[in-house]
């Protein structure tokens, strides 16, 4: 997508990651990188996913995305255990650019600390942090 967008239903981490928690299933979160992150990176050509069952530590890198030019760590916005990875990205990593909040999702995790989501930013705060 060409225009910056930060959906209201997501939580945001300052390292330009998002988390989507379905209120009907608060123990799980889907994670990805924000429009800002994919735009800064340029065309993503490789996503090296972590394996299912591995654990994420909030604020620590858990995967890598690469553009033609550079490699970038993906930082975990929340702690947990990976229950699913987006295997379609192996064939089509460009989805991270084209649809960062949809088809470009990276992993689904089972959250290990129910208190963590509360410290993430909402869309307005995240947008504000980018303007600064």
């Amino acid at each position: 997508m060409a225009q910056a967008s930060y959906p209201e239903d997501l939580l945001y981490h300052p390292e330009h990651d998002w988390a989507r928690i379905d209120p009907a299933d608060p123990e799980h979160a889907v994670l990805g990188i924000t429009w800002y992150a994919q735009d800064a990176l340029g065309e993503v050509v490789f996503f090296d996913p972590p394996s299912v069952g591995s654990t994420l530590q909030k604020d620590a890198p858990y995967a890598e995305v690469e553009s033609v030019k550079a490699v970038s760590d993906v930082v975990a916005p929340l702690s947990g255990e990976i229950v699913e990875v987006n295997t379609a990205l192996a064939e089509n990593p460009g989805q991270i650019n084209e649809d960062p909040y949809g088809e470009g999702w990276l992993v689904k995790v089972r959250l290990s600390d129910p208190g963590e989501p509360a410290v993430l930013m909402d869309a307005a705060s995240y947008r504000g942090s980018l303007a600064g």
């Binding site: 340029g42 065309e43 050509v45 490789f46 090296d48 890598e64 033609v68 030019k69 490699v71």
Partner: protein
């Protein structure tokens, strides 16, 4: 992160054109340069299949003139300057006494006693000092910094010549030749050289003429291409990049540039280069292709010895490619190697250069 926060960077005469075209601007050797416009791959493919236009005005120029200009350059540059005719272009390296490479350069012979040498932006000041220091031994040679006199555009791709020819007052110089032409209203030095592995020209123009030239060539079908595409294009055809594949730590023989080192001319560093050529180098710059996933990057170790100096995902081949200095006996096509890409061992195979060939 925003371009406006970059401190005191130099801008080329085409800065406004880059901003209007939506370029991502980065600090490159102290210059605020377009790394890409809409996307690296689109720009890369345009150069391989039609035509791209690059602003390379950050590159430096040194003019050497006078009755001893040729003698001075013969002493400085690794190639044989006597073989460079008026209107010709020649590639060479600039070596220290120990054979280490200070820069790699194109020199154009504009007249019997007048030469223009194009430097890498990051090396320009050092090159200039080196030229000036050695010019003292040649009182009949004058060395001048010409960086502010020239803007430089590279028009590259299978349609590049056709596009530039259409606005030229005379046939364009062929490959490895240079000549002055009128392009539109501007007097331009047209050089049959490039850094992409495609046909095309490099244009040395007066800074005030550069924007008009850029617009006209764009209007005729050239896609603006940034430094990122320039890097992937050159790496597919295994042209070395100074600061990555070339440095003062290594000489031209190790880098695979022995073809442009003519030790019989007595250039500075010739003895050291001749000794390495005779004894055979311990390491050589090898080109390789990753088998399977993974993108090699500069600094990745090669298992069993050596280091990646350039790496990327090849837009044309669709796989990770790179160049690495490896022990000479392993720098042979077909040798299987492993690259340590941030802890993951990625199998690779050494290939003949270039990695990309037309029609492959």
């Amino acid at each position: 992160m925003s371009a406006s926060s970059l401190p005191a960077l130099r801008r080329t005469p085409l800065f406004d054109q880059h901003v209007l075209a939506g370029a991502k601007l980065v600090d490159f050797a102290g210059w605020e340069m377009p790394v890409q416009y809409r996307g690296v791959r689109e720009e890369h493919v345009a150069v391989r299949t039609s035509c791209g236009i690059f602003d390379v005005s950050h590159m430096g120029q040194i003019e050497t003139s006078g009755p001893q200009a040729g003698q001075l350059l013969q002493r400085l540059l690794s190639n044989d300057l006597d073989a460079l005719a008026v209107g010709g272009a020649q590639y060479s390296v600039l070596c220290r006494e120990d054979g280490g490479v200070l820069d790699d350069l194109f020199t154009y012979r504009l007249d019997a006693d007048r030469y223009l040498t194009v430097t890498n932006a990051a090396n320009h000041e050092r090159d200039l000092e080196w030229f000036a220091a050695h010019a003292r031994e040649f009182p009949g040679a004058r060395v001048e910094d010409a960086i502010d006199e020239w803007a430089m555009l590279a028009v590259q791709g299978p349609l590049a010549r056709e596009i530039v020819q259409a606005i030229s007052d005379a046939p364009l110089p062929p490959r490895m030749a240079v000549g002055t032409r009128r392009l539109g209203g501007a007097e331009v030095l047209v050089c049959g050289t490039g850094y992409t592995g495609e046909d095309g020209v490099e244009l040395l123009a007066r800074p005030e003429d550069a924007p008009g030239l850029w617009e006209e060539i764009r209007r005729r079908g050239a896609l603006p291409a940034g430094l990122a595409a320039r890097d992937t294009l050159r790496l597919e055809v295994c042209y070395p990049l100074y600061g990555n594949d070339l440095s003062v730590e290594r000489g031209p023989i190790e880098a695979g540039l022995g073809w442009c080192a003519k030790e019989a001319t007595g250039f500075i560093g010739a003895e050291a280069v001749a000794a390495i050529r005779a004894a055979r180098p311990r390491e050589r710059l090898a080109a390789f292709v990753i088998e399977g996933p993974g993108i090699p990057r500069q600094g990745n170790p090669v298992v069993g010895g050596g280091e990646v100096t350039s790496g990327t995902l090849s837009p044309c081949l669709g796989v990770g490619i790179g160049m690495a200095y490896v022990p000479a006996e392993r720098a042979v096509a077909g040798t299987r190697i492993e690259i340590d890409v941030r802890g993951k061992m990625r199998p690779a195979v050494v290939k003949d250069k270039p990695l990309y060939r037309k029609g492959s």
